[in-house]
Subunit: 452 residues, 2 copies
């Protein structure tokens, strides 16, 4: 078994395969271009923001630990070619500068994603960073420590962009967050996005929505400013949070078919599939694959560590001779901006519209705890339901405490195709320190049910 | 419409009926024996413990507010008889000491529950309290304020007993909690109960399990001690948390049939039913009814405000000409002892055994947040699943923060008859401030799935 990519998906697959097959039954060789394995890229903003210590804390399992399990991890090794017919891969030992060829019976493709980089971002000057690898995190750290940086511009107002903007303000920089669309976190509806925008501004971040970046100004090999269609913003440091796309160039070059979204398509067991069915011996998982959205039925690219871990586990169980499936996703995501918690699941209004649903929305205000209980703070919950049937299509939550994880209730309801009417009867946990007697989840379902 | 009982169930029914039928279409008359309407009895321990202000904070809606909606609430009025044939009730105006008779088309029976009182507890001495009504809360408050009480004994280690023990220790009393069974909170499995016991003792509460009370010692009309089969415990104040039973004496006397548990049986729409079908014109909701446990299929008496509110709402919608159902419960409950959060849903091991299931259990330790994130603290999650099918039967959680409400994920999974295998694929919210990359819910499901 050869694993391409030593992060969550690839190493979960390796570990699960190893649990089922001993070293005498299956050799496992994993190639990782970078220096680290199985790390939490999601933790980088908290590292930069000083909430979390150095990169070591973000590494779940290091290469030495895998080697104890007889998983031969080689960091600093980049796979440069796949020969499907010969069942071999060509690998560059980056430090030694030499290539080797290794044969496989099972190829686990887990090459992750590559950051989206518009032409203007293709700039060799220093002070410009992505937020994808621990190396990126270390580079930002080193840059911020090397001189008295004052102005930061974060480009892209998605989860990572907002989290990085907060991290940089915690570091004492002046921060501008530039987002091309009309709101930060465009994965939530505009009314919920407005609450996020308020929170971002409340942190002292200069939020510029509806603004497109045209160029980066540099001098002396250093970034100096961000040029937008609405003026130029000084910048000692620029962070790019422009999203990622599946890292499938290697697969594509080898003739492995790609899915509609540019990611690898797989079956339920994470075997790579193409127009002619399963690609023999090739498995894939993580940020390089596309997934099915279980509500819209559409293929999507959803690069999230939680999916990568699950898909890797599923692939590894199957490779090891077991049986497991990854049916798809329902678009659950949570984040935090200072003390503002934001969550979503299912389809947003825009996505429901695009999928062709006729739907109603209902928005309610409630509290995380019984209104009279100390620590009770407001929460806004929005529910989207099919108009004719009441089928729960999605939900969004914005609140100040104990809010975001309530999205799991909606996520499991979406997963099980519940109607908002049935949801009103759900037996959820109630006690004054934890919820009003009608949980906000139920109040929102009730209001949506009233509209069906 | 006549409502018997002015708390959550009765007043929810009245409000919902009024939303659908105006004063010209339906007269609503509600009789409440006590002085308050629609209050949170669950809040009493927090009031006594000083976390919450006076009783006013615990009242969701007072009689004046209901009267504005043309709901004629009469507090201090006790219904003393029901004549099903004549469709009348006899009501005692307690202050005036006179009886009146009122006719009805629709009778909403929401008389709540009465505390369980063994023979030894039938004692007129002062210093002995229940924890059921706001009057009980006020009486405890007055007693504790009237002299320098030092020793408190709470009898009964269920939710209310544990919450009251904590409240009294917050007030600076020496507190002994006496529980007849082997653990506090016998609604969770013994291994989880042991964690609760540790927390209770950690608060400085003297926990005495496996101890039965024999008598209360009194002198000068005051309680002085609790006599148990394992010694006598001094007591300036005794709190009885011995559970409640449905308050159905009035219904029984009127010839309304009772269910197996002693509570009123209803159909899905909250119409009272008996062996001969629906009892014409009589509805019931709240702590006086029995409910169906959707996993075991058994009838149970589950006195909880959250069910009372839902059932009352369902009854009121139906009385008002709408349609709504209350299908049953799955045994969800949460509570907090100091910072220890305890939650359960579905069936405990004992209940699964009693229902005839063959099952496996899986217990895991994880954290509320990513292990590296500030504020990450441990959590124990136990899952109970049918051995052959993997059907999720129940779950229990004990943790220190952001733990208990995770029970809602299990509750909705139980409700939808998910298997633990399917649960491993659930798309739950992940970000480092909210969960490890595998949420504890998923880790527990995964471990249980491995045993199927």
């Amino acid at each position: 078994m050869i694993v391409i990519g030593g992060d969550a998906a690839g190493m979960s697959a390796a570990s699960q395969a190893r649990r089922r097959l001993g070293p005498g039954e299956l050799e496992i060789l994993a190639f990782e271009r970078g220096d680290f394995t199985s790390y939490s890229a999601c933790g980088i903003p908290y590292w930069v923001g000083g909430l979390v210590g150095g990169p070591d804390e973000l590494i779940a399992r290091d290469p030495a630990t895998f080697r104890k399990d007889h998983i031969d991890v080689r960091t600093g090794h980049e796979v440069t070619g796949i020969n499907l017919d010969a069942r071999t891969v060509t690998v560059r030992d980056i430090a030694a500068g030499k290539d080797i060829t290794e044969g496989y019976d099972v190829l686990m493709y887990a090459a992750g994603a590559v950051p989206v980089r518009p032409a203007w971002a293709d700039n060799p000057a220093s002070g410009i960073f992505g937020v994808q690898t621990l190396g990126d995190g270390a580079a930002i750290e080193a840059w911020l420590s090397s001189f008295d940086a004052r102005d930061a511009v974060v480009i892209g107002g998605g989860y990572i962009g907002v989290e990085m903007a907060e991290a940089l303000i915690r570091r004492g920089l002046r921060v501008t967050l530039v987002e091309r669309s009309g709101q930060p976190m465009s994965t939530v509806d505009p009314d919920m996005g407005a609450l996020v925008a308020d929170a971002v501004r409340g942190l002292g971040i200069e939020l510029r929505t509806g603004v497109a970046v045209r160029a980066l100004e540099t001098s002396d090999d250093r970034v100096r400013a961000v040029v937008t269609d609405d003026g130029t913003i000084p910048a000692d440091v620029v962070v790019l949070g422009l999203g990622v796309r599946p890292n499938t160039a290697l697969a594509d070059a080898a003739g492995i078919p790609l899915g509609d979204t540019g990611g690898l398509a797989t079956d339920l067991r994470q075997r790579v599939t193409g127009p002619d069915g399963v690609v023999d011996g090739v498995w894939a998982a993580g940020d390089c694959v596309q997934v099915t959205h279980l509500v819209s039925g559409k293929s999507l690219h959803v690069p999230l560590g939680t999916h990568a871990n699950k898909q890797g586990r599923v692939a590894g169980i199957n490779i090891g001779g077991g049986y497991a499936t990854f049916p798809g996703v329902i678009g659950t995501a949570v984040t935090k901006i200072c003390d503002l918690e934001v969550a979503r699941t299912g389809l947003s209004s825009k996505e429901a519209e695009a999928a062709g649903f006729r739907f109603v929305t209902a928005t309610i205000e409630s509290t995380n705890r019984a209104g009279y209980f100390p620590g009770a703070v407001p929460m806004t919950v929005k529910v989207i339901a099919e108009k004719d049937t009441g089928l729960l299509l999605g939900a969004q939550i914005v609140g100040r405490a104990e809010a975001a994880k309530r999205i799991d209730a909606f996520a499991i309801a979406v997963w099980n195709r519940m109607t908002v009417v049935e949801m009103t009867a759900l037996d959820l946990g109630y006690a004054p320190p934890f919820a009003p007697v009608w949980d906000p989840v139920l109040i929102a379902a009730r209001k949506a049910a009233d509209k069906i």
